[in-house]
């Protein structure tokens, strides 16, 4: 696992000739969305070997309250337990508490919190507060833009609410989960900006890991993604997360694709 991190760091460091981009697909940057703006997302996640094909749809609304505070509200729908149904929802808030901006660099730090509910049965130690578990999460995000390199690190700690009625007998029970990630993104096109109608094309590489502190079981995913930005307000993401290493049994979001459309409405809140 350490070797993968090291390799990724070298890869991140070597790609200095591209422009940086921090609109990550699988994680959130420390930067916030603009004040008085609303974003609407529709995300589709799917796994082909669940054993069969299953997918989850996540409608999401995002609000920029002021330059430091933003929030997301999500709903989760999936066919993971048979019929396609509404599983639950989640509220996420992010507060930017540090900004050190300079001409060619910035460093931002944010704290985030999440509160989630889910009707799904629990049968693994893994915790996924985006659909699979009810629980709480808190964490920190650090994003550094240095010339043409943008790196972001997220550290989170999640606690799943105790739920006897949904626990599958004889299966591992979720309790606490440490999560961590390292993300990097690059602007590929356009080489020269002329107007807002030009499509942007971005590529991302993210490392997403979790460790269960009680059992020591963990996993690490490598998640590449591509992104298009249209008309400077619509964003299309397509990514896939591969498990690189791990021994967390029955984990969620293993070898999963993600497809998302995001629509931004700037300055519409009063």
């Amino acid at each position: 696992m350490k070797k993968i991190f090291l390799l990724a760091l070298i890869l991140f460091g070597a790609k200095l000739n591209a422009f940086s981009q921090e609109l990550y697909v699988f994680t959130e940057p420390a930067s916030n969305m603009p004040t008085k703006s609303i974003g609407v997302r529709i995300t589709n996640e799917g796994m082909f070997n669940y054993p069969g094909y299953v997918s989850r749809t996540i409608p999401e609304v995002m609000f920029g309250f002021n330059k430091n505070l933003m929030a997301h509200a999500q709903a989760f729908l999936s066919d993971m337990d048979g019929k396609y149904r509404l599983e639950g929802g989640s509220l996420y808030a992010k507060y930017r508490f540090l900004s050190v901006d300079d001409t060619h660099s910035h460093f931002r730090a944010s704290a985030f919190g999440r509160l989630s509910t889910s009707k799904r049965p629990t049968y693994t130690r893994d915790i996924n507060l985006e659909g699979d578990n009810s629980g709480l999460q808190g964490g920190l995000i650090f994003t550094q833009l240095l010339h043409k390199l943008a790196l972001s690190a997220t550290l989170g700690y999640a606690h799943a609410f105790d739920n006897q009625s949904r626990q599958v007998a004889g299966m591992p029970r979720p309790n606490n989960m440490l999560s961590y990630s390292l993300s990097s993104g690059y602007l590929v096109l356009p080489v020269a900006y002329t107007d807002y109608k030009q499509p942007n094309f971005n590529v991302y590489l993210e490392l997403l890991g979790k460790t269960d502190p009680s059992s020591g079981q963990s996993y690490l995913d490598i998640a590449p993604a591509i992104q298009m930005i249209l008309n400077s307000k619509t964003r299309i993401d397509l990514g896939y997360r591969f498990q690189a290493t791990g021994n967390l049994e029955g984990r969620y979001t293993k070898n999963m694709y993600l497809l998302r459309a995001e629509f931004n409405f700037f300055n519409i809140l009063k």
């Binding site: 422009f19 609109l23 603009p34 002021n66 807002y196 930005i229 400077s232 931004n264």
Partner: protein, 168 residues
């Protein structure tokens, strides 16, 4: 004479070049543009997307508030790298401290004193959050003035916003 007085109160800043830091995509620039366009005293915002510069033109006779421009950029999630404006001065007398007052706006020039300015003068705002953090620290160390560090000072017995300008 009356006509002359009307001329004096006419628009003091005609246009400004706004350098914005931290913009990494056209969506960021678009958000900044939309944020700036909410200001009533701005007539147009023209972006130079490659250089992250917005050229602002102002409405005639409007009260132009430079702090609001800074706030709108910060609201969009970014920061100012520089603001250079075209000021229209009419026989503006700068005193021995480099200070001058125009229509209630107090300006302190860091590179001019005991001088009269007339016509279009290009000057940059060098106050906190109008330039990068490291540049501000450098300026603050050489200026060694409370008014510069805080951006305010006592003018005619009242605490007043003082804009620090550097003539380019």
């Amino acid at each position: 004479m009356l006509f002359f007085a009307a001329q004096v109160s006419a628009q003091k800043i005609t246009s400004a070049d706004l350098q914005v830091n931290g913009l990494t995509c056209s969506m960021c620039s678009n958000a900044t543009q939309k944020s700036l366009e909410t200001l009533g005293f701005i007539s147009s915002v023209k972006p130079d997307l490659n250089r992250n510069i917005f050229v602002l033109t102002f409405k005639k006779d409007a009260d132009i508030n430079l702090d609001l421009i800074r706030k709108k950029v910060q609201d969009a999630g970014f920061s100012l790298g520089g603001l250079t404006a075209n000021f229209n001065f009419n026989q503006l007398k700068i005193d021995d401290k480099g200070q001058a007052v125009v229509d209630g706006n107090v300006y302190r020039f860091i590179n001019a004193k005991n001088k009269t300015l007339n016509g279009t003068v290009k000057a940059s705002v060098v106050d906190k959050n109008f330039i990068s953090g490291t540049e501000f620290k450098k300026q603050a160390a050489t200026a060694n003035s409370d008014a510069y560090t805080s951006g305010t000072g006592i003018v005619n017995g009242k605490k007043t916003r003082i804009y620090h300008l550097s003539i380019s």
